[in-house]
Symmetry: C2
Subunit: 172 residues, 2 copies
C-alpha cells in the first residue's frame, strides 16, 4: 500500500509509479534463473551437436531456419529470425556454402538481396541431426509434466511480450 506522498509522486510520472527506492530483487533473481536455465541447456546441446555431428550450434540454428523455408530466405530474414547481427549471418552463411550445405544466389528482381536455401546434402544432414536433437530436448525437459510445459509456455509468452514492450519503449 503506497503512502500518500508516493501517490503524489505517481501523478507526475508517466505510466509507472516512481515509488520509493524499490528493490526489484525478485525480478533480478528471476532473470538470473532464466539465464542459468538457458545457458545450461544451450551448453548441453552445443556439446552434443559437436560430439555427435561435429557441427556448431549457430550452424544448426541457421539450418533449422532454412528447413522451415523451402523457398529460401534472405539474409535479413535470417538475421531477424535468429536475432543476431547482419554481419554475423554473412560469415555463417559463407562457411555453410563452403561446406556444401547451403546454396546462395542473388535475387533476380532485386540485386541487393541474397537468397539462401539448404542444398540436398544440407537438408539431409539437418533432418538427421534434428531428429536426434529433439530427443535431447525431450530428455532435458523430462521432469516437467505436460501441465508444467503448458504453464511455462504461457508465462514465457507473457515475459516475451513484456520485454518486447519495454525494449520498444526505448527504441521506437
Amino acid at each position: 500500500m503506497p503512502a500518500v506522498s508516493d501517490c503524489i509522486n505517481m501523478l507526475d510520472s508517466e505510466t509507472k509509479a516512481v515509488e520509493t527506492p524499490e528493490d526489484h530483487a525478485e525480478e533480478l533473481r528471476l532473470w538470473l534463473r532464466l539465464l542459468t536455465c538457458t545457458t545450461l541447456i544451450e551448453g548441453e546441446v552445443r556439446g552434443r551437436l559437436r560430439q555427435r555431428f561435429d557441427v556448431t550450434l549457430p550452424r544448426f540454428d541457421l539450418m533449422a531456419q532454412l528447413d522451415k523455408a523451402p523457398d529460401g530466405m534472405t539474409l535479413s530474414d535470417v538475421s531477424k529470425r535468429m536475432m543476431v547481427s547482419n554481419g554475423n549471418v554473412t560469415g555463417l552463411v559463407e562457411r555453410l556454402v563452403e561446406s556444401g550445405h547451403l546454396d546462395r544466389r542473388t535475387s533476380e528482381t532485386d540485386r541487393r538481396v541474397q537468397v539462401i536455401r539448404l542444398t540436398k546434402l544440407g537438408r539431409a544432414e539437418f533432418r538427421r541431426m534434428a531428429a536426434e536433437h529433439e530427443t535431447w530436448i525431450a530428455d532435458l525437459f523430462a521432469d516437467l509434466t505436460p501441465k508444467d510445459v503448458r504453464e511455462l509456455m504461457r508465462l514465457l509468452a507473457k515475459t516475451k511480450a513484456s520485454a518486447q514492450k519495454s525494449a520498444g519503449r526505448r527504441r521506437p
Copy 2:
C-alpha cells in the same frame, strides 16, 4: 493413454518409456521460447550497458560475481559460477585488471591459484551500474504479476533440476 504394445516396450527400457516415435514438439517449442526470451532480454541489457556505461555484458557479469565475494574468488570459482570455460575467464580478467577494475594475486598457500577481487574503482563502478541495471530488469519484466514471477521461479527451478539431471546422466 499408451497402447498395450507401448507398455510392453516400456518394460525393457530403464527409467523412461521407449514409446512409439513420439513427437516431443511441445518441449521443442518450449525450448525455443525460452531461448527467445533470454536472447531478447540479454540483447537489451547488453545494448544498454554499452550505451550507458560503455561496458560489455561479460565484464559486468564477472564484476557481479566478485561483488558478492568480498574476499575474492579464484578463476575456477568464477568459471563455474559463470558457466563459461576457463580460458574465457583468463582473458576477461586480463582486460579488467588492465582497466583497473580488478586486482589479481597469487594465493600464498597454493601457487597454482589466482585470487581476484574488485578494486575500489571496480566496486564503485559496478555498484553504479548495478543500480541502474536492476531498474532495466524490473522494466523488462514489468507486465508480470508477483504471482507470475513466483510461478516462473518455481517452474524454472524445476527445469534447471531436470536439465542438470539429464546432463549428469551423460557426463557422470
